[in-house]
């Protein structure tokens, strides 16, 4: 560490911190002997995969650890105070006063029944003594909302959280965190739930506020792209232990630990994939023409329903063996498109043709037969497996529903499990025994059990850690070559789209704004919107630097990673 560089005292000092997990966990300590410091005006990134204990550290700083999880040794000092020695009153003063925290999911961190202005107000009233005059508080709320870049603060402070977008909610959270000029801001995966463009804006906002006020920032993330964009220093965690720490450029350019290197390599670099589909047949396998869908959301009794345009004349074609990426921000209608093709959501108008046959007509048994050719892998591997169904059954049920005998279907399921990188014994276990990446492999096996010709991957890797993402992507790429699958890859992450797709469609508010081969869209985007999306890729500046030899290592990383899960 570099204590000597700055004379000012650290805003956060963590020294030899160990946190014990309750007995029966997968390891005795959530965090073991972790030490680091954050100085004023410094951004320290805590990086690690899920389960590495990074959130535990943040929670320990503000004494927010769940019951049964205790600090067993080490000290935490926040602006000269040890939070564990504070009484209730002192702790309340510290939280939201000198040390503020923002969380990953802004919707669940805001009170749904209170106007956001009131919630910011509460932060000020709870902390400032003597209590300031109401007029002054209101003015301060307005200033804060303006500072975090929210448009029209007068109107916005009267809104309820559900009326705001994800990015706006996170801005409100930041406004609340900033309300009492904290010396330390803890941000626990603040942008993971947001899409790339919003992510960039929020990171930039945090960085600007940090510079303006000279506060220390502890940013927790799993994405080295984010680290490259904002961090001064990095602490890399694995299984609760510090693997490496140092200045951001040192760690990124010259990682000492093999694990750090793996994590950096796993960041999708938006390098164009070099797998090109050879299109044999000229006629498309799947054809979508002029798809139209509007969602009507009821508001009040007297207000007219809000209309959300999810698809406005979408047309696309997909050939055998081809991968088409559909990219766009949240709310652009990309998931609805996938669901409409699967007939999980009924379109208002338009045609879907599969191998020449109309996919919109069939009902009941005919629809069941038609669906066999198309399969979907959903985003959340935790929600898409029945918790009470064994993994083998989950995979075998599909073929069994179409008449395959149980024994045969189970044998095939075991084979598929091996194919996606799990063991045969996985068939007899329940989903909760697997990690997120393993579950997504099971979902892929389940979709492939029916030998579909089209696979729709709806944000299939978005919920996974970066390193696991790379492995699952590699698996998908292999499988599509092997099975000549046509794939629609729905994602908000352009880096991933670049790596896997032959062609890309960019969606904005239900309309296709740009379409072309991956190379065309990424190297010469025609639309400003596409350029915005590309610029927002985290870590782009860093990873695109000449001399950053990511490619060779990157591919090696994927290949060596497949067996690791």
């Amino acid at each position: 560490m570099s204590e000597a560089l700055q004379p000012s005292a650290p805003v956060l000092a963590v020294d030899g911190l160990s946190i014990a997990l309750p007995k029966g966990g997968d390891r005795p300590f959530a965090v073991e002997n972790v030490s680091f410091e954050i100085k004023p005006n410094e951004v320290v990134c805590l990086v690690g995969e899920s389960g590495s204990g990074k959130s535990m550290i943040a929670h320990a700083v503000l004494q927010l650890l769940p019951r049964g999880v205790d600090v067993v040794s080490g000290t935490v000092t926040v602006a000269g105070q040890d939070p564990s020695k504070l009484d209730g009153r002192g702790l309340r003063k510290l939280r939201g006063g000198n040390a503020a925290m923002i969380f990953q999911e802004p919707l669940s961190s805001l009170n749904p029944l209170k106007r956001v202005g009131k919630q910011v107000e509460e932060m000020i009233l709870a902390h400032q003594r003597p209590a300031p005059a109401m007029a002054a508080v209101r003015e301060r709320v307005q200033t804060l909302l303006t500072q975090v870049g929210l448009p029209n603060p007068e109107l916005l402070e009267k809104s309820y959280p559900f009326e705001l977008s994800g990015g706006q909610r996170q801005r409100v959270m930041i406004a609340m965190a900033m309300a009492n000029r904290p010396a330390l801001l803890i941000a626990d995966e603040p942008t993971t739930a947001l899409d790339v463009t919003t992510q960039r804006q929020i990171l930039r906002l945090i960085d600007d506020l940090r510079r303006e006020r000279g506060m220390g920032v502890l940013l927790i993330t799993h994405d080295f792209g984010v680290v490259a964009d904002v961090a001064d220093r990095v602490v890399v965690l694995r299984h609760g232990k510090v693997v490496e720490q140092g200045t951001a450029s040192d760690v990124l350019r010259n990682p000492q630990a093999a694990y750090t290197r793996e994590l950096i390599d796993a960041v999708p670099k938006a390098r164009l994939a070099d797998i090109r589909a050879t299109i044999v047949r000229p006629e498309p396998l799947l054809e979508v023409v002029g798809l139209q869908k509007t969602f009507r959301v009821k508001r009040g009794w007297l207000q007219p329903p809000r209309e959300v345009l999810a698809a406005d004349g979408i047309s696309l074609t997909l050939h055998e063996g081809e991968t088409l990426a559909v990219v766009g921000e949240s709310g652009s209608g990309k998931s609805t498109l996938g669901r409409m093709i699967m007939r999980l959501t009924e379109p208002d108008a338009g045609a879907i043709r599969f191998g020449g046959a109309d996919l919109r007509q069939p009902r009941g048994e005919a629809l069941r037969q038609a669906r066999r050719q198309l399969q979907i892998v959903f985003q959340d591997p935790f929600a898409s497996l029945d918790p009470r169904q064994k993994v083998g059954d989950a995979i075998a049920r599909g073929p069994m529903a179409y008449g395959t005998s149980r024994a045969e279907a189970m044998a095939q399921a075991r084979k598929l499990l091996v194919r996606v990188g799990l063991s045969e014994t996985a068939a007899g276990r329940y989903p909760h025994e697997f990690s997120g990446g393993q579950r997504q492999r099971i979902c892929i096996a389940r979709a492939l059990a029916l030998k579909p010709r089209v696979l729709i991957a709806d944000e299939a890797v978005s919920a996974l850690d970066v390193s696991v993402q790379a492995q699952v992507l590699a698996l998908l790429a292999e499988l599509r070559r092997e099975m000549r699958l046509a794939m629609i890859f729905i994602t908000h992450d352009l880096r991933i789209a670049a790596e896997i797709a032959d062609r890309v469609i960019v969606l904005q508010r239900g309309q296709i704004v740009e379409e072309g081969t991956t190379a065309e869209v990424f190297t010469a985007p025609r639309q400003a919107y596409t350029r915005d999306l590309l610029d927002a890729i985290p870590g782009r500046d860093f990873f695109d630097q000449p001399g950053f030899a990511a490619d060779a290592r990157h591919i090696a990383g994927i290949e060596s990673g497949i067996d690791a899960v």
């Binding site: 999980l344 985003q379 029945d386 009470r388 169904q389 529903a401 389940r446 979709a447």
Partner: protein
């Protein structure tokens, strides 16, 4: 297995289970301990507890109160459990259809459910029992018919929650048939709260049956707690034991079932059980 183990560690749930087992044992061994029918006059009328070999005294006609309480446990438990199961069968079917298919089906079924909910259950039960001949079967069906609406509502809510979960949609895309999706995926994931409410319905069913018997609307051939209280009510000032002992039996049984049901709810609801650990 884990659920069972967690339940064994749940203090109030275990108290409920033990009490309930005591009632069940009493119901089972009643004919062995009291070989004479509870309707038989075995002592002098108004025998106080402990005299003439009648532990809990005799009633106005000299029938053994203890025998009545023991035989009453059989009736109460049988009617309680059978009618709760009947209510569950009706409620789950209606709730499942309503929640899964939605739309007009849901509209019609839910208005029907509301109709049942707006009529006071007890009044409807009296009406039904009075219309049909009171027998074990009609009483069970009657109590079942007035107790299903909460179960239907709960099942519908659970189905609505699970209907669009990704694993259900995945099963749909896998080509599974509707009945398999409902029975194999949605119901097993909705069953915990349904079981909890059903177990609590047993308690209300026992109370309903007692109330019906108290009013003289029970099966005249069955010795029931409610009937005993009803018969002893007029003389409660000089012979308290005739109503107090069956009353205590109802209290303990209902309490036991409620404790058991709540224990079950805590154990089956992972969020609550995590808080306990």
């Amino acid at each position: 297995m884990e659920t069972v183990r967690a339940f064994l560690r749940h203090p109030s749930g275990m108290i409920g289970l033990v009490l309930l087992l005591v009632v069940v044992v009493v119901a089972i061994i009643a004919p062995m301990v009291f070989p004479v029918s509870p309707w038989e006059m075995v002592g002098a009328p108004f025998t106080p507890p402990g005299e003439d070999g009648l532990w809990l005294g005799g009633d106005t006609l000299g029938r053994d109160v203890a025998a009545g309480v023991a035989y009453g446990a059989r009736v109460s438990l049988l009617i309680g459990i059978a009618s709760a199961l009947a209510a569950m069968a009706i409620g789950v079917v209606i709730g499942a259809i309503s929640g899964y298919f939605g739309g007009k089906v849901d509209l019609v079924l839910m208005r029907m459910t509301e109709l049942f909910q707006t009529i006071p259950a007890f009044v409807l039960a009296i009406l039904l029992v009075a219309t049909f001949n009171p027998s074990l079967l009609t009483i069970i069906l009657t109590i079942g018919a007035v107790s299903w609406p909460p179960l239907a509502r709960l099942t519908r809510a659970e189905f609505l929650r699970l209907r669009h979960r990704e694993f259900v949609e995945a099963a749909l895309c896998q080509g599974e048939r509707t009945w398999r999706i409902v029975l194999g995926h949605i119901l097993p994931n909705a069953i915990s709260p349904i079981l909890v409410v059903t177990s609590l319905t047993v308690a209300t069913a026992i109370l309903l049956e007692s109330a019906l018997s108290f009013m003289g609307l029970g099966d005249p051939n069955l010795m029931s707690w409610g009937f005993m209280i009803g018969a002893g009510r007029t003389v409660i000032r000089n012979a308290w034991w005739m109503s107090v002992f069956p009353g205590l039996a109802i209290l303990l049984t209902v309490l036991a079932i409620n404790l058991f049901g709540e224990g079950l709810s805590d154990v089956l609801n992972p969020r609550v059980s995590r808080r306990r650990s």
